[in-house]
Amino acid sequence: MSGGTRKASPGAGNVLVRVGGAALAVALLATVAILMVFGDRLVSDDPKNKTDKDEQSAATPVEAEQRDEVVDAASAVLETWSQPTLGYDEWWAALKPLLTPGGREAYSFTDPAQVPELAELTADHVVLNPSGATATVWFETSDGRFGVDLSHKATTGTWLANRVVFPGEESMFA
């Protein structure tokens, strides 16, 4: 994975995302810490997207932990996906384990050179399905508002991505 720092934008709940090696680990830890503090705000700070589902997902400790896991997983997907400088093999080897079976089917034929290089990733909204089976995390980025749709696999305890939602598109779980 190539290194590099992506600029953080100012504001509460912003997440500085670094791409590459130890920097990524630090960034993810920082993300978790920030989310533990601002997690509830991340869920509720976009009034136009406030729904009954958001209300249902408001802040029990267990759900806050789940949201953290979801944001971490979504951030990792978006960072990994958004690396147009990588060759296909390297790009796919990193992205594939983060995707559901359907996600792998969908993205396996992507030309990474055509993927936008996103900067200033800020996770600003999380929607959890009441069943706990799916979630969508929305990010403000240098190229507009992207989302990541994820589903939870109980057998492995992991959140995997179904798709990256482009600006102007709807979540598949909407």
Binding site: K96, G102, S108, F109, T110, D111, N129, E169
Partner: protein, 623 residues
Amino acid sequence: MTSISRSSRAAALGLAAALVSSALAVAPLAGAEPVQPAANQTAREKRQDAKRDRHVRSCAKPALAPSVRLVPEDKTTKLTKKQRVARDVAGAGRVLRASARAQALAVSAVLAGDLDKGKPTKRFYKRLDKVEGWETLPPSIAVHRVLGTPDPFRYEPHWPEAVQTLASFSPSETRAVESLVSAGGRAPSRCYASASDVSALPLPPGTSFQVKAPKVAATTEPAEATTPDLAQETLFKAACGTPVVAATAGTVTVTQDNAAAGPWLISVRSAEDVVTWYSHVQNPKVGDGDTVLVGQPLAEIGDLGEVDTCALGISIESVNAKGKAKVLDPLDYLTELGAALPDGPTIIPETAFRVATYNVLGFHLTAPGGGRPGWGNGASRVAAGKAKVEAAGVDILVLNEFESPQAAVFESDPEWTLYRAAANNTFRDGNYNGNAIAWKTEDWKLVEETEFLVPYKTMLHMPVLTLENLHTGALIRVIGVHNPASTAKAGNQQSARNNARAIEIEGMQQLREEDPDIPIVIAGDMNERETVFCSFTGTGFLQSSAGGSVGGGCQYPRHGPVDWIFATLDLDFLGQDIDQSFLGRITDHPLVLADVVFPEHQAPAAPEEIGDPNLKVGAKNKG
């Protein structure tokens, strides 16, 4: 229980040589997962299982309709720039003989702004053809695999508009084109459920899927009918995004709190209290309380909940008055109760092909001393003609004046199979000339061959072949003829031609009596115009690709050459082209081509029972 499979590894796309471990890519499914039949299964049950499996298999494979024909542009309607490009792209698909689905995929790429006319279009169709299993992939995924664009779902919103746009260029209604562009556009009609059916398969005809039966044997013990036991569900594995349709009619309930089933567990309860559960789905199209009929869209195949692949989970329970449920075998229930019964007649889907007739100008005529100075070598001329024939997308070709050195051009190419009738003339060097029929090896195979014999100065041999389409199973007869010519040397040969025609008509009448379900195409250099047209169409069972009358009255069409293509009325001619570029350097005749469609029909008797293998009409047998 059952395992249906067709599949293969997904191939790498051209954009990256190392694209992906194919096990995870979508393709027609393969690798059956065998399920042991019950130990106490009777012979009758085994037969029923086999029949059911055959039925499911026949409906679980793509059956694409041929390309949509474009009507001439209406000059009064102003097209937008995108529509104009879309029209060009759809037209290119027609020329390249792409399927209707491929045309619509290309148009959706145009509407998304990702495809332009010209070379990119040709490249698109070529690459699409190389994407394994593209026929049955969700449209957006198929286009994405060709273009490698960042968002595989980018073309989803453009697909309905693409179908509508394609329909606007065609003589058909949008609804008809919607059917043509589906993966099952030409699937046998028995695969289609009607709203009045009790049950049917939960995936549309033409979808490639694999059925995986539960590892745990279905219980017949009563159980509570609140949620399905997912360990006992039957999985229909197919590409994520494949439409899921109602397998039974009834009232819908959507449960959203079953994590193992995914965020939408859809159930449909019938009036007879049979409950069908659909799990792991995405993009639901129905909500609580909706009433659905068999075949109505419910959702799409997903990978949500506890499932390790893209699959639809189906569980069916019959609920009694006390609310107790009995688990039913989904495949048994859905294939034995519904309209999609396996006992129906075999239906052959619509079969389209391009036929042409090509008098090559015999080799010896342009050889030194052959009396036609200035012409190129006969074999080279045929090689040039063959390249043009291939560029024109011809499937079946009637050849006249065809000599051994010229035959070698086709015989050395495995993409073609050549049948040469017995010699009309044999030369001193051992070469011989006569009539032949060539066909594309990957599309057709020879089932039966015979000849019409026409006495002339020598015995003329006219090949009569029965060909089977390898994709649809359609059977046709093709007859290649070359009737006597009037020349300065030979004088007027009208009476010889009258005799030849009479023999040919009698032979065709005999074939029709014996095998009325097998249509006939008769083509070749007939060395006459009005007389042959009026004589053949006057039989009442032949039409010309040039148009004109059929039956009495003889209205001659606009047609210059003495080379003709006629067919029986059970075939449809879509149009005729005359390629004059053959004249002068390649041969002294134009190439006459026709697009032919054999509509969907019931299969005739088995090939081995067709016709009389010893049939020789008109004169004594050859030899």
